[in-house]
Subunit: 353 residues, 4 copies
């Protein structure tokens, strides 16, 4: 960290949730970022370190109202808000030359009808949406570098898209794309920092369950991106589950190999695809990734299996839902947008045990 | 469980919390109880098994409003409600000959001024309070058997009082009663089934903290009972802590042995005091009780230590906060009040692992 | 529990693991069982309650060596041992008229070559194996009632077989049986009470991972039983995962509905199949079972989903791996074998929270 | 991190435990350290990243035997070994000019008789022991800066000593030093990465217990240091407990204020004592520190309470047992010994949630 490094002025809207505190953790240690403002109408005046005691002595900011925070003077503003907030403030910020990274869903779905169906509100700025970029770096690096507005991917989609991309890109015909299954498991922090009975310790601990089987908001997001990747609609069954752990996401993806593709060296395919990626680790064939191996880090690990050597491909994907699945990926996007090294501020080694 | 056994008609007011579902679990398996009504104004009409899926196929009741539940026809009504509810309904039920067991604080404190100070409301029925009995069976067995209204003890007080009673009863001068320390630890279910950020899984898991150091509502309750036991005020420092486990309570109690009592055989004293108690287990000297050894059971275990053979007595007490610390003790009280075997419906072996 | 009830003399071989302590918990509360002997060569002389403190005051037995335990005088002996022990002692016990329930794998696989391949030892008594019965009550009730030797199913197979039976029985052609997927998740107690680094609290807590993807011993067991059910080989991909919870097992099963079966009322099919089963709960369509809803109980819950109304059937199955997945099922088998009510000793309500 | 910074060549002996992996995590991110060698006779040849998957892509070292590791060429060697190893190798390393930081107990106790009593072995190098320094930076900064051998404090002692130092230093007569109580709670990682039944997930999760009440090895260590601080023996009752969390340590310390010291401003005393300390945070009076607020960071937080304004002082101390309680403190010592900024490599913000 050298004093001569340029500092990007960063604002955060709505930093009272888990993606907010994770942004604060990462950005307060980022060599090229200067935390400038954080807003919360409800907590106006409160030091953020009073809400998030891990920041005591490290982050001096107080929550401010959006009106007084001076977000227009920032270089970039992260929205760690409920869905619908970023799109209502985007126009104004863009006019002031502020770049936007939204961690909610406002800029994830290009299809505004689908957006309205799932988020129960019309899209407020379809024009801006059209120019926005889906912020999955490993798929959209070039576009992100030039973007003014980035829609940061959902946590589940990140695992599914990176887990499936090598199979679908470039019109490859390797697996049956009509019936892909993604059995996904998330730590409880994915549900956010909202006071709800279902995520109380006494409800979620020592328990396992599926949820959202009938439909989850991340499904249309993945479907849209998979279609872009494959050049055609992809049939996906996506079942999320809740795991009694704080952080971590694990997706077990099942794809049936097409008869003509049975000789494919999938391991080589994945290694080649992600060989230069700093944050995607294709583990040796047959490996068993663990979520703790990426706890608090921006790495995502992939391992391929083909049980019995048959036609069923099993792809295991592990990430920290709050880092690569949210705030770390957002910082990675910021780095790209500002011409910084992609890993700036994201070099922490995962915490184990 | 024989069909000829007399059945007590039981009503539960406010069974949507953890003491409520624990009452339902215990009473639905009780050979002499007949669950008759359960009230929740908010959940009127909902099957209790929809809220508490462990009861599916075992409890057919639906929540009803207090007006329609017919509580006056019950033999006994348990209040698993916030503080203040039981005292507002006690008069009416008593007039109908219904006995009352309150799991909140309305009938725990004889000093109505102290009650008002801690619970921020005047006591609604001081006359009934005077005739009510503090429902700690091992201390008040006789009185409970004849009581119309029982104030079921708080979870922390149960451990502290049973842990200290043998030292203080009968005017014994064994320990310095001016500076007793109770360092207590509770599982998160003790905080109840309220939607609050501080008890979310992501906040309470993988964490440890003290709380209520400046003052906790159970302090005046213990103080009053200790004074009754000792015949004089007892100086107690009580510090509660939150443990990332669902159930379980552990109190480490420190008492300084008086010089003239250094030769006391404390182990024998405790064994003698609790020798005939079914639910208090004085373990061999030097034992290390674990909360899991009483998980889901009504047993409380005590072990005595005297590190280095000196004058510091360390008393370890473990219980399940929802059973002996709440609903199990309430059932134990019911058994006494209705002349049943004290352990009726309370014979389940603790669940381990 | 009436004193006149007949008492079955029960022996347990190797009760130092989790299935052992769970058998002790269940049998010590069983109205018709009399715990007679428990063996452990290593712990000879130790009171079982010293190893399992939940049994203090409830089980007085001490571990004995097999030689001194008098197992031949028992009516039934449970083997809660490593694979290979039951088959070495079966002959002798059977000659004394003792019935056998093995919780390990010795009597699960009829194909002795497959047994040898997975368990690295030849089968010691193929003749006895041939007469033994696979102890999944809901599939083999009649045979179990007359069996001398029962191979108690593995925990994973129980969920997969009960989850799939209605689709496969009777030669039904409802789903594509060449590519069924079972994504299964188990609590850590499934790994047993062995001192191993990988299941230490600091390794398994706050973590999620798959294991045994390349092959798991329960796979041949399920395959054999599925073939019996379907009358033909069934193609199954089975991926087990480890969940940071003590008890509980959850299987998410994916089956593709055949075009000609798209109109099937699967919910009705399952409800009809299991309508009279006391321990299998087919929940209303679209339900979301949770493992905690069966914690410490013998119930298994199933819920059916058909996301988007398409051709992908998703079957959710939850059980307690130590009860319905092991010791509870073993007691259910014992009840059948001795003409007792199937639920004798298995009526405890699940513990929640 | 500038390339021009001097690099200290670091060796680690026995890095297969939790203090080992934590050293690797911290040192691999340290701007002035160069991980040079790590030894494990048992794991000779294994990449450390295979044992600790969080290090994949970050640490390339392989375990080596002590003979081949070239420890004599290091600038400093950390011993993350069982007790007794460091003292057997110290002489040789010192002769080669290598400095030593031992994370075990070999250089914690100056009294070799006490050492032998607790660790069941004679001390191998009393001469080196005499010149070694107890590595609690905030108490011994000067001495550590000039030390060749540092005995890194135990985790419990760190909390007790820093929690009590301001009360005892300089011959202050503020509290009754004959009866101080330290009720301490540790996460399970404190028990190390040894395969033992008692720290299995299924044993330690959802449970709470005390242990070592009759005597714990950290007791003589604290006693010796407290005597140095106070200039006289201090009477301490120390009771450790096991908390179902991976990391974190919390000590609740009770000291009775002497009558003549009742007017002391303890808050000011502590703030003054630790005002310039980077890693000791005296929180505002009445604060409630949480272990998660220091998870994976080198900070230790202290909060003072005086319940009811009486004569009982309650000191709450929270740290991460693996960082400030072990490996972080060891790096802090290294920084001092080599003239680096004390916080070099220790600036990570705590991970929350």
């Amino acid at each position: 960290m050298t004093s001569a490094a340029p500092r990007i002025k960063v604002g955060i809207v709505g930093g009272t949730g888990y993606t907010g505190v994770e942004l604060l953790r990462l950005l307060s240690q980022h060599p090229n970022a200067q935390l400038t403002a954080i807003t919360s109408r409800k907590e106006d005046g409160m030091p953020v370190a009073d809400m998030f005691p891990n920041l005591r002595g490290r982050v001096d900011l107080r929550f401010q109202t959006p009106e007084t925070a001076g977000l227009e003077q920032c270089d970039v503003v992260f929205f760690a808000t409920p869905h619908g907030v970023a799109m209502s403030q985007a126009q104004n910020l863009l006019q002031h030359g502020v770049r936007i990274i939204d961690l909610a869903a406002d800029f994830r779905l290009q299809d505004t009808q689908v957006f309205q169906q799932w988020y129960k509100m019309p899209h407020a700025c379809p024009d801006i949406l059209k120019q926005s970029v889906y912020g999955l770096v490993e798929l959209n690096r070039q576009k992100i570098a030039g973007a003014q507005v980035v829609g940061n991917p959902g946590c589940y989609p990140t695992t599914m898209l990176l887990g499936l991309a090598p199979l679908l890109e470039g019109g490859r015909k390797l697996v049956d794309t009509t019936h892909i299954i993604a059995d996904c498991k998330s730590g409880v922090s994915g549900a956010g920092r909202k006071a709800e009975v279902s995520t109380l310790f006494s409800e979620a601990s020592d328990n396992f369950k599926a949820y959202g089987v009938a439909g989850h908001r991340h499904h249309p997001e993945v479907a849209e991106q998979l279609q872009i990747l494959a050049g055609q609609p992809v049939g996906l069954t996506f079942v999320p589950h809740l795991v009694p752990m704080i952080r971590g996401m694990f997706s077990t993806i099942y794809a049936r190999i097409l008869p003509e593709a049975l000789d494919t060296d999938f391991q080589a395919l994945y290694e080649q695809r992600y060989g230069t990626e700093e944050f995607v680790d294709v583990m040796p064939a047959g490996s068993l990734p663990e979520t703790r191996s990426v706890r608090a880090s921006n790495h995502l690990r992939i391992a391929l299996h083909r049980p019995g050597g048959g036609d069923q491909l099993v792809i295991l994907v592990a990430q920290d839902n709050l880092v690569k699945g949210a705030s770390g990926q957002a910082v990675q996007n910021m780095n790209l947008m500002f011409g910084l090294p992609e890993s700036a501020g994201l070099t922490q080694v995962a915490v184990l045990p």
